[in-house]
Symmetry: C2
Subunit: 334 residues, 2 copies
């Protein structure tokens, strides 16, 4: 079976652990790496969070997948490497270098150095990601949604405004500045995916969608994780045209995200903060939307025209619990 | 008094500690930073050792000066920062990234990140160095010999050759590969300063030479520290034309360098490995050479036509001992 997952963020990486467990693989092992007859999982990963810091190209969602799926992520902190050190970050802060609110661990910096050097040498991000994966062996084929640069920016009232209240002009912040520096506390007026107009799907993305037996939309942030993927021209169309059923998973439990700021993001784009709201936002594939079925948390009410609704516990407490979510997704396609 | 020093390497940085002590300054303090009436020291620093590793522009000699003169160098190891960590280097090695023989400390990486980002943004190396110095306050104005890239390469018999002995073709290694990876153990056939033909002295270099009251040539490696500086068109000519006396200091004691591989370098270019050999290599300024006077170690015999010879203990055991060397240099000009 070929499973293709649209994903982003820490929740997306956790969901992929469950996909591996569902297939009977070691969640943090290399899977049937290289066995052509085996089940295959491809993750199409959001790069809208990517940011160039200190000259380094940082890809938080790709790295969350690489690190989580190979068992070297810091699962307590929720991002970055375990057993990390922070020497360079302290030194950069002492230099007064940019973005002290976005600390890069020393191990993490090594990844960014390798990536940035390869990108500067002309390799596309998909090839660079494959090279990094050759070391980490995440078991899952990780594809950036695009080899072009696409960055999510967030329109807010200028937080540095000192004039009369309510008259602050709009400014666009890089997603990471809004998310990490301001913890999504500034009301978002709009999300812009800079570069998406001219971006193309990365090598392998359209094939992974066309050849899939099952397409899953991870319980990632619909606006800033899944949204940027769908903003790359051709990807949404490929999903709509795919032969495989498409099942989404709600990122909300009891109307709230477990972590992250999906609620603030949904509000900003005028979507009701509920499983039903997200389901309707994705919409029925039969009606030009994204999904055929939608898995919501136990006890949630959701009515999404043209979309089959299933219920399951959505708490990703461990890979075996998450595997049951994947199983429930598959059941919804029968 | 304005003192200008041609310098490179760890020995050069130590010599500058002595220049600061000679002037009564705290050797690792900021000096009379910003006081226009005070004594001034300018170091014209070799950049031939510079290397781009992992996409980072590494300037070992400039950093030795920055760190040594501000008291944050690791004086036991002899290079880099004290209280350093090596997390990123271990990780880069695990990635199989380039040059595992050249480990970058995590604190050091922060410096290289700041530098590389400024260079990539278009600032000349002299401006970048001034920006770094604004943090470290070395007390001495540090000028790279050039804002252009000049790299020392070393011609050797190909060390990877597996054919018949003695028939290996010549290859040119980056200086750091020869020096650090092979510890200068491969017989050098020639030293090339790539880029020096078209390089120009960095901003401020010619002024620092023309306006000096005393010009010193540090006891640095004559071939690979002082040599590349003089290879930049205009610098040697400026020293020859300077109003100040020029005093060199021998890098050899009892015919040997205290550290580094000056002996191997001198042999490679056919210079006798002795104080006299180095003195004659520099040559009398009155005869188109570099120096008016030359300080050699106690008990060394040196006869350099047209150059006044002085003797002093040349062991730079601490800044006050080194200050006496500077004092002896000044005495030689009287």
């Amino acid at each position: 079976m070929k499973i293709t997952v649209l994903t982003g963020g820490v929740g997306g990486a956790k969901f992929l652990l469950g996909v591996k467990a569902f297939l009977g693989w070691d969640p943090t092992g290399p899977g049937p790496d290289g066995d052509p007859g085996a089940d295959q999982v491809t993750a199409i990963v959001n790069i809208g969070d990517d940011i160039r810091l200190h000259g380094l190209q940082v890809c938080p969602d790709l790295d969350s997948c690489l690190y989580t799926l190979s068992g070297v992520a810091d699962t307590e902190r929720g991002w970055g490497r375990k057993d990390e050190t922070w020497t360079a970050a302290a030194e950069l802060a002492a230099y007064g270098a940019e973005a002290p609110w976005f600390a890069l661990g020393d191990k993490d910096i090594a990844t960014h150095l390798v990536r940035t050097r390869m990108l500067d040498a002309g390799y596309p991000l998909s090839a660079v990601t494959a090279a990094l994966a050759a070391k980490w062996r995440p078991g899952v084929t990780l594809l950036p949604m695009s080899d072009e640069r696409v960055e999510t920016h967030v329109v807010v009232a200028d937080p540095t405004w000192t004039g009369p209240a309510g008259e602050a002009p709009d400014v666009a912040l890089h997603f990471q500045e809004w998310w990490t520096r301001y913890r999504a506390s500034l009301p978002a007026k709009a999300f812009l995916t800079i570069g998406s107009d001219e971006a193309r799907p990365a090598n392998g993305v359209l094939e992974a969608i066309a050849e899939a037996d099952l397409i899953l939309v991870a319980p990632s942030n619909p606006v800033v994780s899944i949204g940027p993927i769908l903003a790359v021209p051709g990807i949404k169309e490929a999903v709509v045209a795919a032969k495989a059923p498409v099942v989404g998973v709600s990122p909300l439990i009891a109307g709230k995200p477990l972590r992250g700021h999906a609620d603030a993001c949904l509000q900003a784009i005028g979507v009701e903060v509920s499983a039903q709201g997200v389901g309707r936002h994705y919409g029925a594939r039969s009606d030009g939307g994204l999904i055929d079925a939608f898995l919501v948390a136990e006890g949630e009410n959701a009515d999404v025209p043209g979309v089959r609704i299933g219920e399951a516990p959505l708490l990703m407490t461990d890979p075996s619990a998450t595997a049951k979510m994947v199983h429930a997704c598959l059941e919804l396609t029968r």
